[in-house]
Amino acid sequence: MRSDRHTRAPLRLKIAAGIGLAFLHLPILLIFLYAFTTEEKSYQFPPPGLTLKWFAVTWNRPDVWEALGLSVRVASISTVVALTLGTLCAAAISQTRFFGREAISLLVILPIALPGIITGISLRSAFNLAEIPFSFWTIVLGHATFCVVVVYNNAVARFRRMSGSLIEASMDLGADGFQTFRHVILPNIGTALLAGGMLAFALSFDEVIVTTFTAGQQATLPIWMLEELVRPRQRPVTNVVAMVVVLVTFLPILAAYYLTRDGDQISGQGK
């Protein structure tokens, strides 16, 4: 391995990258800071004092748990749907050649390339036309639609890197279509699906706009936050929730990183 031909980065690049990262993170540190402020009605800087009580307060607020529960359920189901649809699509696109392939790759990207508000109000007015009442499933419908693409992209990229002859090799060795899927395809695209699934979960978990239009009266975590931020009861509670979400997701993100990185190395080793 000699990817490291350039040993040192130019100083200017380091500074620019550092400033960029700082720009990305200072506001997040601020969010963390205000999870500890003693001031509950409005924020003032610097915070008048620090306290841990908001963690307990948050823990004891049933509305937080309700919203969190709904968000987790919505994101999980959306991710499962996106994984299924995205993988099917990726398999069709990369394993076969047919008229309209290009159109399909465009179709998959459309829901994320069009602003969320369009997805939102299209679905909402379609629900109205079809007289479908808002429910858990209307939210999932909206979320899964724009999550498909992240799974699809990851899977297509992995399929592309996966040597085409692997599938033939498996069949050659006596495995039929299903056995090949189970023993060769799945293990090889697994980490890509994991990464895609995580991104899909993240997108769904944090989606405000599409949810606003497809949730009716249900509150997912972001909708709860919107309400809470606009009409604050105990402001730091939102910060506690945001902070906990970041910390809780830290490990899975790291895990996904190492998993997909290894996957790339394996499939890239063909020389």
């Binding site: 409005s42 009442p133 808002f134 606009v230």
Partner: protein, 362 residues
Amino acid sequence: EMMTEVGPGEGQVNIVAWAGYIERGETDKAFDWVTKFEEATGCKVNVKTANTSDEMVALMNEGGFDLVTASGDASLRLIAGKRVQPINVDLIPSWSTVDDRLKDAPWHTVDGVHYGTPYMWGPNVLMYNTETFKEAPTSWNVVFEEMDLPDGKTNKGRVQAYDGPIHIADAAQYLMFHKPELGIKSPYELNEDQYKAALDLLRVQRTLVGRYWHDAFIQIDDFKNEGVVASGSWPFQVNLLKADKAPVASTIPQEGATGWADTTMMHVDAANPNCAYLWMEHSLASNLQSDLSVWFGANPSVPAACTDGRGMQTAEGCTANGLDDFDRIRFWTTPVSKCESQGECVPYYRWVSDYIGVIGGR
């Protein structure tokens, strides 16, 4: 299709309401007029907050709600659009206690049929920062015309206005006082010239306003953090800011004030009609009217609420909130083209698009 009897509750009722209208003690434990209702009737109350009358109409048009606390500029539209159903006042025992001035008010009574129960009414006040204004401003000009405020600094960027087309009426009312030659009879009935004058005034206002207020809570925030010192507002914001010890007060300047008189109306396709009727009765019969008028700083539709001790309100409080100013307030109502005062007026849909234009700088 008016209901003839109230059956057992369905378990829930969905209400579109103004911010601060339906409290269950979450912001302040003392103000809770929901919990007891839920316990007594088994009807869980779900509230969707709306910020403008237009939002309310849109939500009701879309459906999924049982009740709405509609102001006069929304109620007639809802009735005309057949979004709300006639109310059988016989099923609401406390109907008789309603303020006589409101019982047959034209914004909820059409051809003698009632489309709701009155909820609350009040003025749109001028809220101001008491550190900037040592004395209450006497004219709305502080938010309409560029000037130096008593603290010696310009009002540019330090005042706000309501982000709803109905604010055109505030401008018209201001002109009624200052430009009588325009001949405005009602701020909701404007001919082309009068309308144009109002828009011109609002265009001047646009240069003074940094950000329009759309949400009561965001306005509160702007008064705290963005250096806003004067704006048309609701007593509700004044109350909350005062509770936070912010230096604000409110007044009704010499030009008078527009205001609102809201009605609890029921959706034609209400899924929970029984709970809806139970709520309407509750809204008139319980501590609600009294506590609400304290909480929001406005006037109950049941005058007895000021005095009968069911809630926190007192006779003095009601007077302070303007219970006796009913005739001075010009209540929100939907502008229509066939208007009473001068035959041909600019209809509301133009108010909507033109106000968007004004905010956008046109």
